[in-house]
């Protein structure tokens, strides 16, 4: 059975800091007396993830990726809208949904009172696996994630990367139909990241749906069959990595800053060969700046400099980036992924 993921017009407004996500204190009663500060985390997000697909959510911090995963994994109550895993309504049929999903949270949340092996065994027991299946699967996963030699140690002393690997192994322990990975390769060394990618692909090939969040372009590109770019709790672009990258005019992006504002010069930039689009930068530090989308990078620099000299405008800064989802994000939002 292939289980997909659907959301319709999901909206989430936090009136107090999310208890777990923010790791904040309690004191809800006192907060109610002050004017509640509303934070809109999701603003009408609709997604359709086909069963058996590796789907990526790409976006900057605070875009609503983790809230989306939180809602889809029963941990966050949506303010409006609905979500389904397979045929089950996430909020209305939580137990059925929890049976179908495996979750790797952004922060390590391993059971510190147990050893690595026990974490897997108890997790299997929560899902009703019999003891033979449990220990067999635990052994396989410990081996697959290269944790066998530390299997019987308490996880308190594990490095960040080992905890992350164990979290992923745990999420796979009950062989869920849908696997959620929130920033799975954060904090992993390059070698382990490759191992993880291989494991994710393999898991997907066995007919499982995978939803991962990332702000790593390389990861999204290497793993995801389709991507949604999320900003301010909204879906701003959707497609395969190749389609999305192709939607950026030219592919190359030159961020240019001049000493003075010169609309005339900006117009003339458009006439350079290979330039597809010129946009005046917005935002606080975009003063006198333009974004030049073009199908070539370096060779354009001297031509831009010549044009600036001819218009007696000083060229103060220029930055070239190659085709990337980062550029795509910038193209759609006018903001950098890291802002």
């Amino acid at each position: 059975m292939l289980a997909g993921i659907r959301t319709r017009e999901l909206r989430k407004v936090y009136t107090s800091p999310p208890p777990l996500a923010a790791g904040g204190g309690f004191g809800a009663r006192r907060k109610n007396k002050q004017p509640a500060r509303e934070v809109v985390a999701l603003d009408g997000l609709s997604l359709d993830v086909t069963g058996g697909e590796i789907f990526g959510l790409l976006g900057p911090n605070g875009a609503g990726k983790s809230t989306t995963v939180g809602i889809l994994t029963t941990r966050v109550r949506p303010t409006n809208g609905q979500a389904w895993i397979g045929d089950y309504d996430v909020w209305g049929q939580q137990v059925e949904v929890k049976r179908l999903i495996g979750v790797v949270a952004q922060r390590p949340n391993l059971d510190f009172s147990l050893t690595a092996r026990e974490i897997l065994l108890y997790h299997g027991a929560y899902f009703g696996l019999d003891s033979r299946t449990r220990s067999m699967r635990a052994n396989e996963l410990l081996d697959r994630f290269k944790l066998s030699d530390r299997a019987d140690q308490m996880v308190r002393g594990f490095s960040g990367g080992m905890m992350q690997r164990l979290s992923i192994a745990r999420a796979m322990m009950h062989d869920p139909q849908v696997l959620f990975l929130d920033e799975p390769s954060a904090g992993l060394d390059p070698q382990t990241r490759l191992l993880l990618w291989e494991i994710i692909r393999e898991y997907n090939q066995s007919g499982k749906t995978i939803l991962l969040t990332t702000h790593n372009m390389e990861e999204a590109d290497a793993l995801c069959q389709r991507l949604a770019i999320i900003d301010h709790g909204r879906n701003i672009a959707l497609g395969t990595p190749a389609e999305l990258k192709a939607s950026v005019p030219g592919g190359f992006l030159l961020r240019v800053r001049f000493g003075a504002d010169s609309p005339d010069l900006f117009e003339r930039l458009k006439t350079l060969s290979g330039v597809r689009e010129v946009r005046v930068q917005t935002g606080a530090d975009g003063e006198n700046g333009v974004d030049v989308y073009a199908d070539r990078g370096g060779p354009l620099v001297s031509e831009i400099a010549n044009l600036a000299a001819a218009s007696s405008v000083e060229l103060s800064d220029i930055n070239i980036s190659e085709p990337s989802l980062e550029n795509l994000f910038l193209h759609h939002t006018g903001r950098s992924l890291r802002e």
Partner: protein, 256 residues
């Protein structure tokens, strides 16, 4: 309801408790046993306290041990796991309604409290002997009171554990548990407050009063005590209130 999951959650807690057996033992028994030794043995044998005080003290110490054990067993892990380590997330994703996890914690805390309470009797017996006079007239009533006291401690632990910030654990002990113990008729019967009529009425909001008086009335009925049936009723009411409050707070913590 998914029994397999529920039992696995219990098994996990039992496993962790077994692993921490020695510190758990010290934490539960050291303080009450020192109290038993000083007040029941040193003070009595030196003549500052009458010999009958030994028997009067026993139910109070049992109530303190049970309340402390239950509150500690439920509240401390919850405070840490919700706020600090997020360990509980894995169990919140187990295929069972969230509130069953809270109920599991209550069951496990109550079981620990029963063990702690029952262990006090022989331990105090050894320390205080001779002169402890237990008159177990109705074992059934004693079991009823013990179970309700154990549930009281665990439900209280659930309510506290889901309401208190990790930076305020110290305050929980100095503002909640310590006054509860001193005004909980643990070291004296409720009737001893006759000369303080306002205080005598006021302490009735303290659930520990009913725990001590209930155990006193079933273990050492030769001393004055509140009517056992009234105690059972009061314990039932406090158990239900704290459970309802605890579940509400738990839900708030579990879902953003």
């Amino acid at each position: 309801m998914n029994w397999k999951t529920f039992l696995a959650l219990l098994a996990r807690d039992a496993h962790v408790a077994r692993r921490n057996f020695v510190p758990l033992l010290l934490q539960t028994f050291l303080q009450p046993m020192m109290f038993v030794f000083i007040f029941g043995r040193v003070m009595v044998s030196s003549g500052y306290m009458p010999a009958a005080y030994k028997s009067l003290l026993l139910p109070g110490i049992m109530a303190i041990s049970m309340i402390f054990t239950g509150v500690w067993a439920v509240a401390m892990p919850l405070i840490g796991e919700f706020q600090f380590t997020h360990e509980i997330e894995d169990r919140l994703l187990a295929p069972i309604e969230n509130y069953w996890l809270a109920i599991e914690k209550v069951c496990f805390g109550a079981a620990q409290a029963v063990v702690a309470g029952l262990a006090v009797i022989p331990a105090a017996w050894v320390l205080l002997r001779p002169g402890v006079e237990i008159h177990l007239l109705s074992p059934l009533l004693f079991i009823g009171v013990t179970v309700l006291v154990a549930l009281l401690s665990a439900c209280g632990g659930l309510a506290l554990g889901c309401s208190i910030d990790q930076t305020k654990i110290g305050l929980m002990f100095s503002l909640v548990l310590t006054p509860m113990i001193f005004f909980g008729c643990t070291y004296y019967p409720w009737s001893a407050l006759t000369n303080f009529p306002i205080l005598q009425k006021a302490v009735l909001v303290n659930p520990l009063v009913y725990a001590s008086e209930g155990l006193r009335g079933t273990l050492v009925p030769q001393f004055p005590h509140l009517p056992v049936l009234a105690v059972l009723l009061a314990l039932l009411v406090f158990d239900s209130l704290l459970l309802a409050l605890g579940l509400r707070q738990f839900r708030r913590k579990a879902v953003a």
